[in-house]
């Protein structure tokens, strides 16, 4: 069976899906795992006395261990369940930032950040009267390393960086950046939302304190995400939400909390989402996925070459170090017009600022058309897209 046939989404009619950076489609195995949970395994974790509940708890905790080893961490207890990348970063900003950022401290982010790794830090800085500085980007969306260096000399308290650009697909040298930030004494967070399905992530090799990502961008369900927290800083986090599941003892006088990471996981968790994420991990580590990913670089290159043949198209970003995201603008045309006409031809792409307005401002553009590839895309998809793009451009210039 082909890999694409594992995805029921593609069985419903003619759509060319080129928006996997927004969310990936789900394989049947992920969908089945969630159905099976609700049909046969539906209990809750950690509290109930009967055997199904403890079997489910074992499965739930084993997925935590699988997630840890998938990102190169040896400790399952370093994994906190969240709703997604945005939730993970906000949790870090509240559970760590609230106690550890004070007035006149410096927070540094990259100029290419998704708003999810920009606004929480900007707002925290505002709340704490701290400073917030943004590393300049080069015209190709890469980091201005000399500017990064000059900001590191100011000894920031926190450095939050994107592993890969959601708008351009650039892969950033996170290991090098984290290493430099740590030398300045900074705590580091890496936003891995776009990297997780494309790059082999090893948090211990990167050396970061936090690593955040979502299930739904790695063929898993929406509403589940992960915040990895390094042992070094675990003790610096404090609870953000209070209630069930996160406590060990409650009396009228005081409450004792469960150990890390449980005191950060308040209330009944998203069990179905975690089960689905477990199935997504199996999919992404399967032989079938591995085989498909071997051809992803040549498919990306084919797409770039086809676009270069259209004279008015300008491809942005670093196309040599990229996760398979192509962002482009067309001379004299707006991204929204192109998106509307592609939509009429059943081509799903994303148009606009891609939740990275500071990056768009730095590049001097208002938005791009973004084509992003997933494991199920093939040459036929690219050909249909290019034909539809040519047709859109001729309609716009008639």
């Amino acid at each position: 069976m082909s890999l694409r046939s594992q995805f029921p989404f593609f069985q419903q009619g003619p759509i060319v899906y080129l928006d996997s950076a927004a969310t990936t489609q789900k394989p049947q195995s992920v969908i089945d795992s969630i159905t099976r949970y609700y049909q046969h395994e539906n209990t809750t974790v950690h509290r109930s006395a009967f055997s199904q509940a403890s079997a489910l708890t074992d499965k739930y905790e084993s997925i935590r261990a699988n997630v840890a080893s998938f990102i190169g961490s040896t400790h399952a207890q370093n994994i906190i369940w969240t709703k997604g990348t945005t939730d993970s970063i906000n949790l870090a900003a509240m559970a760590w930032g609230n106690q550890n950022i004070s007035s006149d401290d410096l927070i540094v982010v990259l100029g290419s950040e998704h708003h999810a790794n920009f606004v929480p830090w900007q707002q925290l800085a505002k709340l704490k009267n701290a400073h917030f500085k943004v590393v300049n980007v080069l015209p190709n969306g890469d980091i201005d390393l000399s500017h990064f260096e000059s900001l590191m000399l100011l000894q920031p308290k926190l450095v939050a960086i994107q592993h890969c650009s959601n708008a351009l697909g650039n892969i950033y040298p996170v290991k090098q950046l984290v290493e430099r930030a740590k030398k300045s004494g900074a705590t580091t967070l890496v936003d891995g939302a776009q990297a997780i399905a494309h790059v082999q992530v090893n948090v211990e090799d990167i050396g970061c304190d936090f690593y955040a990502f979502s299930g739904h961008k790695m063929y898993g369900p929406t509403g589940i995400g992960v915040l990895y927290v390094n042992n070094r800083i675990k003790h610096q986090l404090t609870p953000v939400q209070f209630g069930g599941e996160m406590i060990s003892h409650v009396s009228i006088e005081k409450t004792e909390f469960r150990p890390f990471p449980h005191f950060l996981e308040t209330g009944t968790p998203n069990i179905a989402g975690i089960i689905g994420l477990g199935a997504a991990l199996e999919f992404i580590q399967s032989k079938m996925f591995f085989e498909a990913s071997k051809s992803s670089a040549s498919l990306y290159q084919y797409l770039i070459n086809q676009l270069h043949d259209i004279g008015t198209v300008r491809v942005l970003g670093n196309t040599n170090k990229n996760i398979g995201v192509v962002s482009f603008v067309v001379e004299d045309e707006s991204a929204s017009d192109i998106g509307a006409l592609l939509n009429e031809q059943h081509i799903a792409v994303r148009c606009g600022h891609h939740c990275a307005m500071p990056l768009m401002t730095a590049l001097g553009i208002s938005g791009t058309v973004r084509v992003s590839l997933g494991c199920y895309n093939n040459k036929g998809d690219i050909d249909l897209f290019i034909t539809a793009l040519n047709k859109s451009l001729s309609l716009l210039t008639l």
Binding site: E333, A340, E344, G352
Partner: protein
């Protein structure tokens, strides 16, 4: 030329809009007709494309200036997107030079449905135009 003059220059009637769009037979010709309507908008000056007049909530850049003269409201609206310009022409044909009451009572969603420009896709494709209309209504209520 003042902006008020620019706003008053708009002269596409609803009849013209309906005729133009009703004569189309495919999505291609419908979009062509829409873009031609957009071309008939008075040219919006580059220097007026300023942040304080930007309409938020649109996928493309849209700027709006509004004027009141003799109890009638006039609007100069610019965009960098050709399809959005066509949609702006549709909106202006119904509200430009009208009274506050008429503008507030105008049912944009129903009008777009009647025009059948987007078929099934009306709500997703017209979010930007709704944002423009909301900006107009905000202006009228302040």
């Amino acid at each position: 030329m003042t902006f008020l003059h620019l706003a008053k220059q708009f002269s596409i009637s609803p009849q013209k809009i309906e005729q133009t769009l009703n004569s189309t037979t495919s999505w291609e010709t419908r979009y062509r007709a829409l873009m031609l309507l957009g071309k008939a908008l008075p040219a919006f000056p580059e220097h007026a494309k300023r942040d304080e007049n930007r309409v938020l909530g649109c996928e493309s850049n849209v700027w709006l200036y509004a004027y009141l003269e003799d109890d009638k409201y006039y609007f100069a609206i610019g965009s960098d997107a050709k399809i959005v310009k066509g949609l702006i022409a549709i909106l202006l044909s119904k509200i430009n030079g009208q009274s506050q009451k008429d503008i507030i009572e105008f049912d944009l969603q129903q009008y777009l449905t009647d025009l059948k420009i987007f078929g099934q896709l009306s709500s997703s494709r017209t979010n930007g135009l709704n944002a423009i209309r909301n900006r107009v209504v905000d202006y009228l209520s302040n």
